[in-house]
């Protein structure tokens, strides 16, 4: 499944900062370093899971890779072509191939537009299909994501949260993309539907050789769907390894804390949770040294001073920590 020879995407030293404005004049006072420095290859046909604390920059990273926003720094090579610095006009051809399924389905749907029309839009812009053919395509899409023909004429508010997320998936796959960033794509779904949608995503992946970047807080789902898992902390990469390796043998202390906090579906069982004490860092002014040192149970003097380098500690297993 995973083709190690062929990176579909080569992401090098990507940074994304947001200006913080303040004062009466709304002058730039500093920057939120949402993505600090991320380097990773994404292989064709794989699913790369991305996990990490809320606010650590996962969505920003996903948007940056799709070039939905300009990068602050860094390079992204997609199918051999540098797209990190491409102008918006030249980018258009690539955007069709790269799609995103959003975290908040409601925010990405126009409340006044019927679902059928919303799905038809992509075919109007990007294809020369006739009205009748377009309708057929949309009905097929609805069917593919487990919705029904009568949903065609409904408005977004008439759907439940989970049903709306299926609309988002339908929209993302409509133009046969090769790369999809799924940002909390199944989080709004209950487990029984989630199992169906995960299966749907896997089937679509196989059918169309899709490559996924799968951002989620649900570590069970991530384990189930991912080939490799990337753990992020405060805009940085903390650990990367094949999925089983991360779960069975986590090395970074943040990964360990994260895995220990997973609630298991067994009533009465007390978790042996590693509680993270200490101050939550401010992304506008991240700590010196290792960004995790303010909360890390293993932190030493060195961690406060020196930023750990990203190194391969065993084959395909990368980590940034002095104490590993």
């Amino acid at each position: 499944m995973m083709n190690l020879q062929q990176p579909l995407l080569q992401i090098n030293n990507v940074k994304k900062y947001y200006p913080i404005k303040g004062g009466i004049l709304q002058r730039v006072q500093g920057h939120v370093k949402a993505v600090e420095d991320v380097t990773i290859d994404v292989y064709e046909g794989e699913t790369l899971g991305i996990v990490g604390e809320s606010g650590c920059g996962k969505s920003t990273f996903g948007r940056a890779v799709l070039r939905l926003e300009p990068l602050t720094e860094g390079s992204i090579v997609f199918k051999g072509q540098e797209i990190g610095t491409l102008s918006d006009r030249k980018l258009k051809a690539f955007k069709r191939e790269m799609q995103m399924i959003f975290q908040d389905p409601y925010a990405s749907l126009n409340p006044r537009q019927r679902v059928g029309d919303a799905l038809e839009e992509a075919f109007i812009i990007h294809t020369s299909l006739s009205k009748k053919e377009r309708k057929e395509k949309v009905l097929n899409l609805l069917d593919e994501v487990g919705l029904k023909a009568e949903h065609y004429d409904r408005y977004p508010h008439e759907f439940s949260g989970g049903q709306r997320q299926r609309i988002g998936i339908a929209r993302a796959i409509s133009l046969n993309p090769s790369f999809i960033v799924c940002d909390e794509a199944v989080s709004a779904l209950d487990v029984s539907v989630q199992a169906q949608v995960i299966k749907l995503l896997k089937d679509l992946q196989e059918k169309h050789q899709l490559t996924y970047m799968f951002i989620s807080h649900d570590l069970g789902v991530v384990r189930h769907i991912s080939d490799r898992v990337l753990v992020m902390y405060l805009g940085n990469t903390a650990e990367l390894a094949p999925a089983d390796r991360i779960y069975d043998n986590p090395l970074h202390p943040y990964t360990k804390a994260l895995l220990s906090a997973i609630p298991r579906p067994v009533p009465g069982r007390k978790r042996n949770r590693v509680k993270l004490e200490g101050d939550l860092p401010n992304p506008a002014n991240p700590p010196k040294g290792c960004s995790f040192h303010t909360r890390c149970p293993l932190a030493t003097v060195r961690c406060k001073e020196e930023r750990p380098i990203w190194r391969e500690v065993e084959e395909n297993h990368f980590v940034a920590c002095h104490e590993v």
Partner: protein, 336 residues
């Protein structure tokens, strides 16, 4: 002795649609005691949010409670005037909404939205409310809360928006908290912190909690009781141990089998085949029968009655009839 906080009786909620009036909630009854957490689980679209919104009287424009009663601290909410309800909402009862973007107002700062309820319901001054707001943001684990007070919701990450909403809901220390998927956008360490915070308030204030979640791990951790819904109906209710160890309804069993197992990658997810019926579909008999592998002729024609499994465990499924019949036959024969 458990003290009753909320009592929902035979709640029916309907929507006016192009296809006529359709029921999204069909005769649901349940109660919440002080200091108790009741989790609502069930397939997407089964009516969990609409049940919650009915209690809060915050239904979408085309929706209405057409039958039943909702009693909160002895008061009937379905007949209450809007201005009286407003005094309760955000004060004695608060809700954390499923989609933070729809609940937070994009044109006001986070600070404004968190200060308002404190000023209105708790009569705090601007400065006191501001200080309290910062403290609340800190409690829900938002880094650098002073700065966040002056930001707008689009400048926050998904999980931060959710935490801001939680902070607003908890601001007035409500007696009843309805939390609709409160931690879906949060990582598990922050989730644990929020669940602990809700737990503390439960202890401290005797707050009752209705939690809608699809994370069975969270259910196992926080619930005292669990109510399972299917297509607008309550189909099973039990104390949390009983539900996990002895689920009775075929849908509940399927639900538990479709939970991904973090401890085993090769665990096969078993999705329940088929989809939830639309509101406008007419279904005879058991509403689950066309997806149920055990369905009999009776299931197809007669709506199952509610059977008692034990004191705290009820289920609506005709299979009980066979089982309970067998059991009573067994006891009868052993008594001879």
């Amino acid at each position: 002795m458990a003290e009753l906080l909320l009592d929902v009786n035979n709640l029916v909620t309907k929507f006016k649609t192009a296809d006529g009036k359709l029921s999204a909630v069909r005769g649901v009854s349940f109660s919440v005691n002080k200091g108790e957490t009741v989790c609502i689980v069930g397939e997407s679209g089964c009516g969990k949010s609409i049940t919650s919104l009915s209690i809060m009287n915050l239904l979408p424009n085309n929706g209405e409670i057409s039958e039943g009663s909702v009693r909160f601290l002895g008061q009937e909410l379905t007949k209450m005037r809007q201005d009286e309800l407003r005094k309760l909402r955000g004060n004695k009862m608060a809700m954390i909404f499923q989609e933070p973007m729809t609940a937070l107002n994009p044109v006001f700062t986070v600070g404004f939205q968190i200060r308002e309820p404190l000023k209105i319901h708790k009569r705090l001054s601007q400065r006191e409310a501001h200080r309290k707001g910062i403290e609340l943001l800190k409690q829900v684990g938002i880094p650098y809360p002073e700065k966040r007070m002056s930001q707008y919701s689009h400048e926050l990450s998904g999980g931060m928006r959710q935490r801001v909403m939680i902070a607003i809901a908890l601001a007035c220390r409500p007696s009843l908290l309805i939390a609709d998927e409160p931690t879906t956008a949060l990582d598990v360490t922050i989730q644990a912190q929020i669940l602990d915070l809700i737990d503390d308030l439960k202890e401290e204030l005797g707050m009752g909690v209705i939690m809608v979640t699809h994370d069975m791990g969270v259910v196992a951790e926080v619930a005292d009781r669990v109510m399972v819904m299917y297509a607008g109906e309550k189909i099973e209710e039990a104390d949390v141990e009983s539900l996990f160890s002895n689920p009775q309804h075929p849908y509940t069993k399927g639900l538990l089998k479709s939970v991904p197992n973090v401890d085993d990658r090769n665990h096969q997810l078993e999705a329940i085949p088929g989809t939830l019926p639309n509101l406008n579909e007419v279904i005879t008999g058991c509403r689950f029968h066309n997806r149920c592998e055990f369905a009999t002729e009776k299931c197809r024609t007669q709506s199952p009655k509610t059977f008692t499994v034990n004191d705290e465990h009820t289920v609506r499924c005709w299979l009980q009839e066979v089982e309970q019949h067998d059991e009573s036959a067994a006891t009868a024969s052993s008594n001879q």
